[in-house]
Symmetry: D2
C-alpha cells in the first residue's frame, strides 16, 4: 500500500522522504510545504497526524528536486536543519534511490525467512537481504541455495554475551541498516539492542499483548480463544513489549489443535512480518513512546 | 448459522436437541444414532467433536419423533438416561418448541440492550426477553417504550449483598433461564453466580485475554494495538476469565482516538453479544474446563 | 475514523473543510497551505491523493480562522475562488458547524432505517434526519415513535412519475442536503436523480459488481459463493452501477440457507450504510468518473 | 482445519473416509454409523449436511478397523456397495494412507507454484507434487531446483489441440490424481477436461462471479471496488464458472494502483489456492450442481 507518490515519480529521479515529529503548533504544514516549493521542489505525497492528547505533530512528506544526487542531498540536509532549528521537529530523512541492507536473525523455523527471501527475489522488498545469522545450522542449506551468506553463531544462555558480540560483529561487517528477527527464539539483551544501533523488528506469533513469551499458540489453545493473531513490533529490552507496527488475526474454533494453530499461524506471521518490514523500509513508521504512527 | 436440520423439519413438529460430553470410546456415534433410529426417531442434524488430548467426546444431535408433546418428553428422558447410564455422558436436553426466558442486567450504556431488543422484536432471537434490571435509571424510558418491565436496583460497593439479593429475587420472579449482562458495569459476586443457577453471558469490550477489567478501549489505545476486539463469555467468579463463546475484531490505526474506538466497538459488541446468546439459545454451546465447544 | 483534526479543534470554533480536485501540477500542496497560512488560518488536517494514470490531484483540507462566522464564510469563499481561478480545481466547501439534513426513502424492511435512527439519537451521525418517505405504510409506527415525520407516497410502475414528483416535493419541502435509500425497493428514474439535486446514497445487499438488481442473497446462494457482501454507493441512472463508497463482507458456508444470508446480511448492510453516510457527511468523499476517493 | 479425528487416530492405522450424497430420507445417519459399528469399525469423525430445498443428504464419515490393509480395502468396498445399493447414495472413498499425486499447470507467474512447493516440502500438503507442465520456460530453473520434473509444452491458440494432447500424455504418464492450475493463463478445452479424468482446481485472481476472465485486478481497479478477492474453483468447460471451493478477500482503497492490487493479491491467491487443494486432498469437498459442500 505504498504511497501513490512513488508511482507518480519518474523512477530515475531520486525523491526525498522526511519523517518529522515534535510539538504541534499552527502553520507547520504550510511552513514545510512552502519551504519545499520555494526551493523548487515538487511534493509527491504528504500525510500528517496530530496526537491531540499529547499535542504532537507527525508528518511524512516526499518530494523531488530537479537536481543531481549531490544537490538532492544538500537540499535534504538544509530541510532537516530548518525543521529542527526552526520548527523544533525531530527529523529522519530517506532517499528513494537508497536501498536498506537487512540482517536476518533466525533459529530453526524457516517460514518467515523463506517468505522474506521470496519477496526479495521477486523485487517486492524495498531493501536487500545482506546476511543470515542463526544459532542453529538447520537452515544453512536453504540460505545457501539462495546465494546469501549464512553465519552460524551458537548462543546458549551461559554464552549469550560472547554470542551476541559475535552476532554484532557480523551484522556490522555487512553494514546492515535494519535487523529482522525471523522467528529468532532467543531473547536479545538490552546491551545488544543498544549496541546494534539500528532498528530491530521482531515477529511474535501471538496477538500481543495477549500471549507474550514462549509458546503463544499453546497458550491460545489452552485459553480457548476464538481468534489468533500475529504481531510485528520493534524489539526493545522488555520482551514482546516494543511498539507494534502491524497485526493480523484469523478465526479458529474448538476443532483446531495446537498443530492447526501453528499451521494457520505461519501464513499470518509471514504476512504481518513482511508488512511491517515494508512499512519500515518505505519510511512510513514513526515511533513515539510505546506506540507507532504508520502512514499509509 | 443455525443447523440446516431446523430448516428441514416441519416447524410444527417439536425436535429434541441433546448436548452430550464425556470420556471418548469406540461406538459412541453408532450407539446414539442407533438408539434414535430404533425408537422411531429421525436425525435432523448431528455434529461431533473429539478433544484428543483430553480424550473427551462431544456431540450435538437433533432429532424428531412422530409423537405428541408428552411422548417426545418421555423419549427425551429415556435417551438422557441411556446416555448417562450406558455411555457415561453428561447430557443436556432442549426442545425446539421451548423458548428460553432472558433476564437482562444493564447499567447506563444502551447499545447492546437496544440491539438485543431489536433482534427480539424482529423475531431473530430464539428466546424471549423477560425483564431488564439496572443499577441506574437512565435506560428506563428506552425499556418501557418496548413494553418490557424495568426494575431499578441500585448497587453500591457497600450494598452489593442487598442489591444482589434484590436482583436475584426479581430474576427468579420472572423464571429466567439465562441472564445476559448487556454492558453491566458491576462485578457479580461468586455468591450471586452460584445462586442465580442459570448461565450468565457477559459482553466484554476488549479482546480477552488482552485488556480485562475496566476501560479496555483506553488500555488498547495506550498500548498502541492495531486491532481491537470484543468478547462474549460465560461469567464466572473470576472477572473476565470465563469460557469464551464468541469474539470478533476490527482494525484501527494511530488516527483513532479513544472516542473512535468506543464508537467502532459498539457495533462489534452488539454483533458478538448477539452471536453468543443465539448460539446458547440454539443449544450449540458446551462448556468444559475454561473452554467452549460451539457447534455450527 | 474521522480525522483527528476534529478532535484537536475547539468545538466552538467553526472549521472550513475544502474538497479539491483537478489536473495535477507542481506546487499545489504548497499553494493551498500557504494561502491558508497567509490568511491567518491553522490547518487541522490535510490529505492528498494523486491518480497518476489520470494525472488528477485530490485534496481534503480542514482549517480554522480566528474569525466570527461571517468572517469564516468570507474566507472560505475567497479560498474557493483562488482554487478555481488560480489552480483550476473544482472545489466543494463544508463548515464544521453545519449539519446536513437527510431525507430517507424506505420500503418495508426496517433494519437500515432503524440503525440510522439509533445512530442519530445517540449523537453518532454528523447530520440530522429530516423526514422519512415510504411507498408502504408498514414502518409508519416505528418512525412516528421517534418523532420523525413520515410520509406515505405509493409508487407503482405505472404511477412512478406522479409518485416521484410527490417524493421530490416532500424532500424539497424539508430542504434536505442528502437523500439516503435505506432499502428502498423501487428504481429511481434518471429524472428524479437529476431534479433532486442532492447526492443520493443507496445500500445494496450484495457485493457489487456481483449480484446487482433484485434478490442478491438468492443469487449468491444459487451461485455457491463462500463470502457475501454489502455495498453503499451513490445512486446514478444506471441501477447499482454508481460510484462505490463502502463495502464489507462476511464468510458463509454451504450450511447457510437464503434466510441465514438475509439475517447475516442485515448487520453488514447497517454497518456499510452508516459508514458511507458518515464519510459523506464528514466531507471525506470525492467522486470522479465511476469511482470515489474516500479520505480517512 | 482438518478434522480432529485425524489427530485421534494412530497414524499407523489406515482410516477410511467416505463422502456420500443422495436423496435424503430418515435413518441415514443411523444406518451408516450402525453399519460401521457392526463391522467392528470406530468412527473418528462424521459430519452431515442437508440441503432442504433440494432434499439432498451429504455426509463425510471417517473410521478405522483393526484390520490389515487388505481387510480395510475389503470393508471399504463392502461399505460403498451398501451405501449405493441400499441407501441410493453416490459414494467416494479415500484412505488415510494414500497420498494423491498432483500435476501442476503453470505459465510464467511463480507465486502460487512457489507456495505450493513450499507447503509440500514442509509436509503441510496431504499429497505429493508429481510434475510441473508449463507453456513457457521461465519457471524451469525454479522447478528444477526443487528436484521436480519440468515439462515445457508450448500452447498457442492454433496449436491448442496438439498442446493439450501432449499435456494429457505427460499428466497420465505421472498417474496424477489431481491437476492444479497455478496461474495457468490458457483456457482448457472441454475436451481436455473430459479426457484428463481427474478433478482440476483453478485459482482465479478475482472475487468471482465479479471479474471473470482476463485482467481481473485491472477490472477491479477500473470499477472502484473497495475490496478485492481470489477464488479457487473446480475448472469446468465454462470459463471461471465452476463450483467454488474457497474464497478470500482483502480491503483496498483509492490509494492502491493496479500494481498494488497485484502485489496484495499474490498472498490471497496463495492462501485460497492452498486451502482449496488441502480441502480436496483431505476428502472434504463434495460437488453438486454448480456448488460445493466443504466439510470442516
Amino acid at each position: 500500500m505504498h504511497p501513490t507518490g512513488n508511482e507518480a515519480s519518474d523512477p530515475h529521479i531520486c525523491s526525498i522522504i522526511a519523517l518529522l515529529h515534535g510539538p504541534d503548533r499552527p502553520g507547520l504544514v504550510a511552513r514545510v510545504s512552502n519551504w519545499i516549493f520555494e526551493h523548487g521542489g515538487n511534493i509527491l505525497h504528504a500525510d500528517q497526524h496530530r496526537d491531540s492528547e499529547e499535542n504532537v505533530f507527525f508528518q511524512r512528506v516526499e518530494w523531488t528536486h530537479n537536481e543531481d544526487n549531490a544537490g538532492v542531498r544538500r537540499l535534504a540536509d538544509a530541510f532537516a536543519q530548518m525543521a529542527q532549528a526552526e520548527l523544533g521537529m525531530r527529523v529522519r530523512i530517506g532517499f528513494s534511490d537508497e536501498r536498506a541492507r537487512l540482517g536476518v536473525l533466525v533459529s530453526k523455523i524457516p517460514h518467515c525467512l523463506h517468505d522474506l527471501i521470496y519477496r526479495w527475489k521477486v523485487g517486492e522488498l524495498k531493501g536487500d537481504l545482506a546476511c543470515v545469522v542463526s544459532n542453529h545450522q538447520d537452515l544453512e542449506p536453504l540460505v545457501e541455495a539462495t546465494g546469501l551468506p549464512f553465519h552460524h553463531v551458537p548462543v546458549m544462555r551461559e554464552t549469550r554475551a560472547a554470542g551476541e558480540a559475535a552476532q554484532l560483529e557480523i551484522l556490522k561487517g555487512y553494514g546492515v541498516d535494519l535487523v529482522v528477527l525471523a522467528r529468532y527464539m532467543q531473547v536479545l539483551s538490552a546491551g545488544f539492542l543498544a549496541r546494534v544501533n539500528v532498528p530491530v523488528i521482531n515477529i511474535h506469533h501471538g496477538f500481543l499483548p495477549s500471549f507474550p513469551g514462549g509458546r503463544p499458540y499453546h497458550q491460545a489453545h489452552a485459553h480457548g480463544v476464538k481468534i489468533i493473531g500475529a504481531t510485528a513490533h520493534y524489539a526493545t529490552a522488555e520482551l514482546d513489549q516494543g511498539p507494534i507496527i502491524a497485526q493480523d488475526v484469523t478465526r479458529i474454533s474448538h476443532r483446531h489443535t495446537v498443530a492447526d494453530l501453528i499451521r494457520k499461524g505461519r501464513h499470518l506471521e509471514q504476512l504481518v512480518f513482511a508488512e511491517a518490514i515494508q512499512a519500515h523500509l518505505e519510511h512510513r513508521v514513526l515511533v513515539y513512546g510505546r506506540k507507532t504512527v504508520v502512514f499509509e
